[in-house]
Amino acid sequence: MYFRDQNNFFSIAVSAGFPSPAGDLFASQLNLEDYLVKNPNSTIYVRVSGDSMRGVGIFSGDILIVDKSINPKNTSIILCVLDGEFLVKKLNINNNSTNLVSANKKYEPIIVTEYNDFRILGVVVASIKKFI
């Protein structure tokens, strides 16, 4: 309820009905960030385009959640930099060779050599796709 007080400013009146029976129960609300982000200090978001990772369910327009503090394992999906360019690929290490594998047969695996500038920036934790 609003009314004008003597100085012509609006004030808000507090209602004084029967208090809600749930008033002192504090259930915590579900929070998506709690579910998706373990380490907020080291988590970044990137939007991707292209079809090279569609095999694992990453499509154009999706937003990836990348955690830099997680150590990548073999077959982790990683965000990395190869010669100054960002890439999202599946990490594949065997017999001392490092390969970056796409999830789409159209693309050949990239073999990382000692002549490349290669840095792993983080592990892709989740992908967000919105329908509307």
Binding site: F9, V46, S49, G50, S52, K68, V81, G84, E85
Partner: protein, 416 residues
Amino acid sequence: MIFLVDCNNFYVSCERLFRPELLLSPVIVLSNNDGCIISRSNEAKQLGLKMGEPVFKAKEIIKNNNVHVFSSNFELYGEISNRIMSQLKIFSNNLEVYSIDEAFLEINSEDYKNIGLNIVKNIKKTTGIPVSVGIAETKTLSKIAGNIAKKSLDNCFLIENNWMAKKILSCTPIKDVWGLGSQYSKFMINNGISTAESFMNMDRNWILNKLNINVLRTRDELHGIKCHKVSSCSKPKKSIRVSRSFRNDIDNYQHLEKYVSDFAFLACKKLRKENKRVKQLQVFILTNRFKQSYDSKYFGTMSYEFFVSTNNYIEIIKHSLILLKNIFKDGLKYKKAGVIFNQLSPVDEYQSSFMMNNIKKNNDLLMDKIDYLNDKFGNNKIIFSSQNINDKSKISKKKLSPNYMSSWNNILNLDI
């Protein structure tokens, strides 16, 4: 032991996070309004670009060497800084955020060097920003250790004991000692004291007589005696300052009035966000020191003390303009102006005057409504008629990077 964690070329490092192709290229970041160089990559330093140098003076070097130039994106740097500081807390809860890119930590353990190396590794990995760590018995010594760490390969340096400190201080110029300032360094050099070691051996009474207690504390800290504690509670801001250099010089009073209104408004907004009131208001104007002949150099400043501390937009803008009127000189070309608030106090802790209570209340309500509407409908929807804020031409940020970390529209787009 005290650890000084200092981000390497912080602003440049932040920009590079999102532009990996710039890893080995010369990169610089400019101050507000694209005026001066405020951060340089190592490659840019090697080209001879100087800290604080006006960018027009460096035009040639920038063009000939393909230096990448960024306008400052303080929103981005602030967010990355928050992450670094919060990540540092896993090493110690006793952490003092000293500036946007520096923090002191107190850690009592063994194997300090290893902890330092871990900090460098952890921060680089989790945030992507390279840091250096200087470790020593006191803050002043850790600053000196930090300078050495910056130049060492592993970005970490430990001053283990007094003997080692002495060796290092004997080749540290007095001007590199933290907390002395250029005035005192000059005074000491004039008195034949050129290294930190010779300063350390000065007579304590002589320092007290000729200089002051703070200089004495600095001397004691070099001896490994702790005088400055690591204080984890952040110091409340003592002043608020909003100032800008104009892209084109201003000689018209009406123009200047608009800018000063804007600055006063912005400063007041900051003040209100921090729940503070201001007691002393200061306004300054400055002519262009690079362009003008000697006799037209002018720095005008004046301050006003409110009877009762205030956080009222109207009152603050009104008095800023009165001050401006007093310091304005006709016929000069002004390059810079600013508004500074001193003597801040929390909103609920101010000396009140009994006569003003009623008027105040109404005004407070009006001020709250202004903040509410501006927050809800976007900044600067409600402004004062003396202001200028919608004139976008005023701040020049031609090379601004997107706000990668604070808006979904601006997050990094990757073609994978």
